[in-house]
């Protein structure tokens, strides 16, 4: 299994030419968490296979969108890339240098280059500290500015992300959700990183505020040449911000490619189902759409299904799917960048079986 995945991820001739713009390359990354028993010895009784052989590439100045449901392993993957948790196996390279499982000291210079924005603007800011101190922390930790210079830098950052620099001395509680997310963005931006990992950065915000933050992220990307690894469960948001999209299911990549390829000509039945389930704010489209209702829930990553992990819920599943793990590869007729891990990819114009066409009044 791992060999086929590695093969699929190895650069095709077309990609080799663009190797220069690769900022981050993740190769066959595996992250398992041990499940311990209840006894005194706390023996390991199983493994949560949160991420199980994922390969992806983030290019300079571009955004890679990562979509998947709860438990698909997208946040774990993000934390592995950021070096916040050790990986079980596989490799993460940043600008060609291997940063997998580096010591804290060795990792330090890379921490300036890779920053993170978290989902919950309430939980990710210390309520007892002033905003100026929170945003100034990266300068203090990396000893790049202090005193008046630090204050000036912080106020410039606040201005840049659309906060009033005079609010330097306020506490997080005095800001609204959208403004707190801007504080998180300012903190991430402080050391001029090359990569920002955004883990559901707008999910907790109202739509009108969400649009403000998305526009801010787009502006910062073009001003500073940032790359984003953008994780979200909202498919429209991911489509809006991304250049390329990878769809995760139960620790593996189901499908990845340029966003229009993935959205308009999805090949993996899971992607098709996910797209059909996403609510569109357009009643006529909603009435016409034929929604594929998947049965059951996402299985446990402690004991994932054999073969293709999607097979127990897949409307197209056959014998082979439960026996053999499909490789993530380019399917016939697709461009070189569009890879699908499926034995029986969905063809153009095909309707999946077990479609629930809903009757409207």
């Amino acid at each position: 299994m791992s060999d086929t995945l590695r093969d699929a991820a190895s650069p095709a001739p077309l990609e080799a030419a663009m190797e220069d713009d690769v900022l981050v390359r993740v190769d066959n990354l595996v992250k398992h968490f041990p499940v311990r028993g209840g006894g005194i010895i706390r023996r390991t009784v199983g493994q949560v296979q949160a991420v199980d052989g994922v390969s992806l590439v983030v290019r300079r100045g571009q955004t890679l969108g990562l979509v998947g449901e709860t438990g698909s392993g997208k946040s774990t993957l993000a934390r592995c890339v950021a070096g916040l948790i050790p990986v079980t196996s596989g490799k993460v390279t940043f600008e060609g240098r291997d940063i997998t499982n580096l010591s804290r000291r060795a990792m330090r210079p890379f921490r300036r280059e890779i920053q993170m924005i978290f989902q919950d603007p309430y939980g990710s800011l210390n309520p007892r500290r002033r905003v100026g101190a929170i945003i100034g922390d990266p300068f203090a930790v990396h000893k790049t500015a202090s005193g008046a210079a630090r204050k000036k830098a912080v106020q410039e950052l606040m201005e840049r992300v659309g906060l009033n620099p005079e609010h330097f001395n306020r506490f997080p509680a005095e800001f609204s959700g959208g403004q707190r997310q801007r504080i998180g963005v300012a903190r991430a931006l402080a050391l001029r990183p090359k990569l920002i990992i955004c883990d559901e950065p707008v999910s907790a915000l109202d739509v009108s505020i969400q649009a403000q933050v998305l526009n801010l992220l787009a502006d910062l990307q073009s001003d500073f040449g940032l790359s984003y690894l953008f994780i979200a469960h909202d498919l429209e948001v991911v489509r809006h911000v991304s250049n390329n999209v990878s769809v995760m299911y139960l620790g593996r990549i189901a499908e990845s490619g340029p966003k229009n390829q993935v959205y308009d000509t999805a090949r993996h039945p899971y992607t098709v189902a996910l797209l059909s389930a996403a609510p569109a704010a357009d009643p006529d489209a909603a009435a016409q759409r034929r929604r594929i209702i998947l049965t059951g829930d996402v299985p446990s990553p402690i004991n994932p299904p054999s073969g293709c992990r999607f097979h127990p819920r897949c409307p197209k599943a056959q014998e082979l799917c439960s026996q053999q793990e499909p490789a993530l590869e380019v399917k016939p007729g697709d461009p070189a960048m569009h890879q699908t891990a499926c034995h029986f990819p969905v063809q153009a114009g095909e309707t999946l079986a077990r479609v629930a066409g809903r009757e409207r009044r």
Binding site: E174, D206, V207, S208, Q212, A218, L235, S276, P283, R358
Partner: protein, 364 residues
Amino acid sequence: MSLLEVTDLRVSFPTADGVVQAVRGVSFSVENGRTLGIVGESGSGKTVLTQTLLGLTPGGEVEGKAVFDGTDLLSLRPDQLRRIRGAEIAVIFQDPLTSLHPLYKVGWQIVEMIRSHDRSVSKKQATERAVELLGRVGIPSPRQRVHDYPHQFSGGMRQRAMIAMALSLSPKLIIADEPTTALDATVQAQILDLLLRLQQESDTALIMITHDLGVIADIADDVLVMYAGKAAERASKHDIFYQPHHPYTKGLLESIPHSSAAGDRLRPITGQPPSLIRLPSGCAFHPRCAYVMDRCLTEQPRLAPVGDGDSHISACWLPVLATGLAPETEELRRQAVAQGRHAAAAKIAEAIAERPESEGSVIA
């Protein structure tokens, strides 16, 4: 006559900082077998509105009328309300994790719901009914799962259990308060599908509270858009999405990323919702409105019919015919604004045009 007829409902909460005017005069009605969608941002009063109907807002000062099936809910004593709550009006809350008791079995909780309204049902009968209900909402092998604890259910299954509980006494009205917000897209699709099917089977009325216009597009018949405790606009689903009149509704629609314009710049609404303690004068939306005129600062617009029907009402001073997103309509709005905007309003409009994407400050 409508199943539920709410007239000029007002709810305010006295606090140390001042009076929070959570709901400021909202009227609406719901018919059997229909779905009313209530949309609005955090703090627009959509949840307080419906919880007040059920007497779940202690400490709130309530005015107005809410006639359900011939009785005014707001005039009932707590014990009378308790008989209606659950039996005739059921609620499905947002967070299925915290709305089920973690220490009692799912089945027990449904049994208790049934028996607390009708003591003549035996425990055995009620358990039978719970099994049947769990099966109806699509829980596999309900006869075994009825004895499970909530933590043994996944998020989607818990929400199904909540729906089973809501259905247990065949209510005439179900209030669903962000029922799918905590769920993944594929599970959300399952739950919306289930709600729609159950509603069609038993002709129940449904109030769907959500901030997600995608859910509204899917399931609602009529839509009420709330802003700062008031109804900004009320219309059929079609009119809200394709013929919006109120600039707030229009702003909401425009700020969602659309697949047709993926990658284009989004058009957010400037600023953020106002404090419900210190509300802006006139129309509460005027500090964020790109079409602000002089009268918006002083006079509060009433809900009045707009467009060409009378089912579509909106609280905005823009011309009655200025509905929709077409260029001609935009021209109509522009002309009205050109005539109606002078000193004060012009200043606000300038500030909005200058920093269209700023959120402003919380404490002015």
